[in-house]
């Protein structure tokens, strides 16, 4: 090669399709707006500028076949070379890119989430200079995972779906109980007894059919956290117990993902954004603020202590607002700051959250 780079391995579009049928993963490395021209069904999208940072989360096995595609085959070739240097032993570029793929008559789909947006639906936010058409396309390309489809996850998921965040994933292993309905507004009366993710997915799809909603009826644990959280742009922690909160934190720290934290107790709530992996300005993580959970006897749950339904509503929506800001790159996120809401006093207070230089999770 003239530039001294090793030659990237190339495959024809047809060979790529056959490799995909045998389980190979295809990564579309184009920028988000280019996806409007359509993409290959089953491809995952990671823009080339983010590839090095995010590929490990999406393709942890460096010996598996990884296919790369772009518009004409130039960027994907560079990406394949970079991945080879990163240790991927079988990264291959699709020769001629999507242009040749289409010329050869191979199937291309205009995905629901990346197709022509429903401009009328989003008119009021398109009018905001911080959103606009480019911002709306960023939202449609975004992946947000919500841990918990309960009091916090319900309002957050509803508003993110309404705003057109393209890919939402709910993780929760609970069933809907009648005592949930006072605050968990994702779930209808008739859903009592049903799986929360099943009920939540149905509600969100009905609200905005252009959003791709996925549900995992599992409990997030150390064993599955990294796999579930990989490839997400933002994780919303709306869980209801300390064990899960520390699992979410540690996985987000390891994967470099922003974690939008919310927690409530009676008439009070806390919100912050934990993001040690933030480019250009690392923030603290949950362990920097709370190094260890309280023993169970000192930590009454909402079931015992009670909670007014609007409190998780308010806190969950603040989490949604922080998430939209992060996805849009708008404003100043709650990184390094904790917002505390006291509903009885009707007061918000803001506190500083410094990084812990000795934090076992995020200090390097």
């Amino acid at each position: 090669m003239k530039r001294g780079l090793p030659a990237a391995v190339e495959v024809s579009p047809r060979e790529a399709l056959e490799l995909m049928a045998r389980g190979a993963r295809l990564v579309d490395v184009r920028d988000a707006p280019e996806l409007l021209a359509g993409t290959v069904r089953g491809a995952i999208h990671i823009a080339r500028c983010e590839l090095m940072q995010r590929v490990a989360g999406c393709a942890p096995d460096t010996s598996a076949t990884l296919l790369l595609i772009c518009a004409s085959g130039v960027r994907s070739r560079l990406a394949a070379t970079q991945l080879a240097a990163l240790g991927y032993s079988d990264a291959r570029s699709v020769a001629g890119g999507l242009a040749r793929w289409q010329r050869e008559g191979l199937p291309v789909e205009s995905s629901r989430a990346t197709g022509d947006p429903d401009w009328e639906r989003y008119a009021r936010q398109l009018a905001l200079p911080e959103v606009g058409e480019a911002g709306q396309r960023r939202l449609m390309d975004a992946r947000v995972l919500l841990v918990g489809a309960g009091g916090l996850g319900s309002p957050a998921a509803l508003y993110l779906a309404a705003a057109g965040v393209g890919h939402l994933t709910l993780v929760d292993d609970d069933r809907v109980e009648r005592s949930n309905l006072q605050r968990q507004v994702l779930h209808r009366d008739a859903a009592a007894g049903e799986s929360k993710v099943l009920s939540g997915v149905a509600t969100l799809r009905a609200l905005n059919p252009s959003v791709e909603v996925t549900g995992h009826d599992v409990r997030l644990s150390e064993a599955n956290a990294r796999e579930l959280l990989a490839c997400q742009h933002v994780v919303i922690d709306g869980s209801d117990n300390f064990a899960t909160r520390y699992v979410v934190n540690d996985a987000c720290v390891a994967l470099g993902i922003a974690c939008v934290h919310g927690s409530v107790f009676r008439f009070e709530g806390q919100v912050s954004v934990f993001w040690p992996g933030r480019p250009g300005g690392a923030g603290p993580c949950y362990r920097c603020l709370y190094p260890a959970p309280p023993p169970p006897e000192l930590a009454p749950s909402c079931a015992e202590a009670g909670v007014l339904g609007v409190v998780p509503g308010i806190i969950g929506l603040l989490q949604a607002a922080e998430t939209l800001k992060l996805l849009l790159g708008a404003g100043v996120p709650l990184v390094g700051r904790l917002l505390h809401y006291d509903g009885l006093r009707g007061r918000f207070d803001e506190f500083e959250v410094p990084r812990d230089p000795l934090c076992p999770a995020c200090a390097r």
Binding site: G148, S263, F267, L289, P293, P300, C302, P312
Partner: protein
């Protein structure tokens, strides 16, 4: 303004007869907690370990600043400031 105010979170009001604010005299954080201990011993027991350290699931702020980033229990609480106590809560 010769006093300081200590804000008590909902989770700990069971130890202050329901009061959401207490007043104390200025000093260090340790001095302030010593004053509270006289009136509300169980409250302070929840905040400090038997060795007298702030528990890892509790944060104490002087106005906006976290005492972990200052001098811990030796941090100064001047007259007119607000001390906020914030324990970790898990509800979702």
């Amino acid at each position: 303004m010769s006093e300081i105010v200590v804000r008590i979170p909902a989770a700990l009001r069971g130890f202050t007869d329901g009061a959401d604010e207490l007043s104390a005299s200025p000093g260090t954080v340790a001095d302030v907690l010593a004053q509270l201990r006289v009136r509300h011993p169980q409250l302070v027991q929840r905040l400090l370990t038997p060795e007298g350290e702030i528990r890892p699931f509790v944060n104490v702020f002087i106005d906006r600043a976290n005492i972990r980033a200052l001098q811990g229990l030796a941090s100064s609480v001047p007259a007119g400031t607000v001390v906020s106590i914030l324990p970790a809560v898990a509800g979702g």
